[in-house]
């Protein structure tokens, strides 16, 4: 397992190459990259920040869960923080497995779950201003539901 939060470019090739072992028949890679627009608005760059210690422990827990749940052999999960330009990789997920179905399923579950539960945020800089990106709603088990702050009507 390789779980990292980095400030520099993610060495995708090197990470993927280092993951392969003889028992693997399939490697599925997800490379999340900074797109040049959000809903048609031109993106200049993104600034990522994290609650770093918690993000790392969440990422480690996700990788362990993916291995247990899908029976894949190994997982790499690397997220970059700081200022990212269009085309930069923000997150790289590599799953190595004997069989392809498990590799795809685990890889997809990892990115979907990371985006909902790992404490990382991004601020998008457009030509005409910056906004914190809308996050995905937390899963129900994470949000303090009746938290006395009004809640949903």
């Amino acid at each position: 397992m390789r779980i990292e939060i980095v400030e520099e470019a993610i060495p995708a090739d090197q990470i993927a190459a280092a993951m392969k072992a003889g028992a693997d028949g399939a490697v599925c890679v997800f490379d999340g990259i900074v797109r040049d627009n959000t809903r048609g608005r031109k993106t200049l760059y993104l600034d990522y920040e994290a609650y770093r210690d918690m993000a790392l422990s969440q990422m480690r827990a996700l990788a362990e869960e993916a291995i247990a749940k899908y029976g894949v052999r190994d997982v790499a999960l690397v997220h970059r923080l700081g200022r990212l330009m269009v085309g930069d990789t923000s997150v790289l997920i590599v799953v190595a497995s004997a069989h392809r179905g498990a590799a795809f399923d685990a890889c997809r579950w990892l990115i979907d779950t990371l985006k909902k539960t790992v404490p990382i945020w991004k601020k998008e800089q457009f030509e005409d201003g910056a906004v914190w990106a809308d996050g995905e709603p937390f899963p129900e088990e994470i949000v303090p539901q009746s938290n006395g702050t009004g809640g949903q009507p």
Partner: protein, 83 residues
């Protein structure tokens, strides 16, 4: 007792900083702490509705009781990864 509260993302701007110390009565819960911030962000009630809370880097429930020295983090919906 005293806890440290960390703010992330948009909450840093709302509460004017990355963290602060907060004095609470013994036996206070996560919910009690959230009510303080709800009062401070009264003009933007939606801000606190969707957040999660971590105590010592683990997601916590509203009924969880805080302890002296806890690190409490207020977490807006996360947006890691790419779009």
């Amino acid at each position: 007792m005293r806890v440290t509260v960390l703010f992330f993302g948009v909450l840093k701007e709302e509460f004017g900083g990355e963290s602060e110390e907060m004095e609470l009565p013994e036996g206070s819960t996560v919910g009690d702490l959230l009510q303080r911030y709800a009062a401070r962000a009264a003009s933007r009630p939606k801000l606190l509705q969707s957040l999660a809370v971590a105590v010592n880097r683990e997601y916590a429930g509203v009924a969880d009781i805080l302890q002296q020295g806890d690190e409490v983090a207020l977490l807006p919906p996360v947006s890691g990864g790419a779009r």
